[in-house]
Amino acid sequence: MPMINLRCPHCDFSKDLEASVLPKPGARVNCPKCGGQFPFLEEASPAGSAGEAAGPGRSALRPAPRTLNFTFSGNAREYFGIWIVNTLLRIVTLGIYSPWAKVRKRRYFYCNTLLDGAPFDYLADPLAILKGWAIAGAFFGLYSLASRTSPLLSLGFMLVFFGIFPWVIVRSRIFNLRNSTHRNIRLGFCADYGEAYRAFLWWQLLMPLTFGLITPYVIYRQKKFLVENSRYGTTRFFFHAQPGQYYRIFLPLLVLFPVVIGVSLAVFFLKGSPILLILSSALFSVCYLAAAVYVSTALTNLTWSSTSIGGHRFTCDLRLRDLIWIYFSNSVAIVFTLGMLAPWAAVRLAHYRLERITVCGVGGFDSITAAADQEVSATGEELGDMFGFDLGL
């Protein structure tokens, strides 16, 4: 009985199977390792012949996977001009220009992001953003007024905001992905509000009840939701991380926190001088910042590296020490130039982050087909923006 080698396009797990147990070509197969689904195609190669050694026939059709790079072609000098003119026009128009400024800035970053030499583009209509901006601005204005006058009213606002938070996330995601294109094909997001409310409200509410023990699992659910509902044209993204991998990220923190808390408590009970107190607080904040950067870096790496699309697997290998250095030197540069180097810092970070992401797979992104779409409003996106949360992967 001939053995057939089956390879999962998402996690590269491969297994030799007897030809007789294989399903019909075209059937969907579940990967035993990552759980990802992929169509079983005829090109699965006989065991022992890894593509290149294959004889004549259909098994030779499998070409070698290729690695595609992200590159960033923007520079600080150009972006400084865009940034400062945006700022000036924003002020003299009392903020009305903001949506145009936002689109211009985004377009600069998107159009300078190249995947395999082809740029992305951002096509949001500034007028749609202006409308969303006005609605979100009214909400934010009322909230900030309420928070200064009546604590009860501002609590009410917070509750309303928590209630609509998952909706905001979905709307914002739809708006942003729909308006992002690559090779003139729009990205998109499927509005699954039920799962949004489960991942971003229900599980989130359970977090304090479990003393934060389910936090990694909640993050896993959220990332899974964000990735799996995204698509490029009609091609869906796949997510094949396991909750355990998210727990592993938080393990080192378990060692770190008792140490820091122990030191702080020791200082507190020894009734140290104010200098000792300041030193330990500084130590605490440094540890906190480092831990925050570590967690966000590890999450980004894991999430990207667990994402695939159309048989192409992403890899992201941001390095903690690089990022800590970049964040630190960027903040120093921004503070000491009173913000004038902010554009330089933004470009520098974009450069680093993008160039650590690669996509590996067979065939490239030449055969993605577009989906039929309708217009979406920008209210969710602008509300999310006002309250300062970033929805990057």
Partner: protein, 344 residues
Amino acid sequence: MINSWPAIWYDGRTSRGCAVTVSREGDALRVVGEGVDRRHPLAEVRVDPGLGSVRRMLRFPDGATAEMTADAFLDGLLRRQGKGRFFSRVHGWETSLKMALTALLLTLLVAFCCIRYGIPFLAARAAFALPAATSEAIGRETLQFLDKFAMQPTKLPEGRRRELSRLFRALVAGRPDLKGCRLELRSSPAIGANAFALPSGIVILTDRMVEISTNDNEIAAVLAHEVGHVTRRHALRHLLQNSATVLLVATLTGDITSVTTLAATMPTVLIDAKYSRDFEREADDAAVAYLKGKGIPVRVYAEILARLDAEHGKERDSAPRFGELFDNHPLMMERVLRVMAAEP
């Protein structure tokens, strides 16, 4: 044809790109390449205005695009269409170093003028134009909140309370603009020695403040200072100014997102401190004017300020804290000197 430019053609239905050449034939654009040969009236094609040095697109009505780098050709098309003039000019500004630096200077100038003159002026106009009901509601809510969380009823003896009320009434007597103004006495270990005015004209005096004063002239001076805040509607103006500054700083530092980030709150904290310093000075002037009018030596006000500062200093020593960085400690000495200088 000589005037043809290379481009990458994407039909908008699949992601496959193919190399084509684009040329202008009269009032139409011609795109020729492998499997592509089409003409479009120029008026129907959207041309991306310049942005940095990114690749620009020709966008055709059926959703197809042609990605190009031939900037001069595209600018020529835009001119011919008579479209995108504003953004072509913006692009010119952005790319010229001289213009970008001019924009920088203008930005700083406009922001400075707004913060220094614009916002305080508008806030003052708005504060005096707002109906009394607004500030009454704010004042009531604040008092309720403070009573619940930070203050207890006064522990001063009944006679002393009456004396203080009389003192306050004498201060506001015959002033129609101070109709709703009243004095509230409270005990508050959390606040310590202090006096402050709420937007609705309620002046709060803490027991500790009364204890550290040596005579009623000092108390009268402090109350005159607070009444100065009330007549000038400082509390409401402060609230309006701070809301406006937050918006301005948010506009300045980029997306409104930054409202929540430290980088944006630092300048607002500093501007806030500057505004409250201005208000304190104005109210000090009111107190000095009151004392002079009554023939009381201005020195008594300087003395109570200095004592208040010493009192707060004592609290600081017993519990060192980070907040000290933002404390108005040096400010108080400056105020004392300023009051002393006002003495004839």
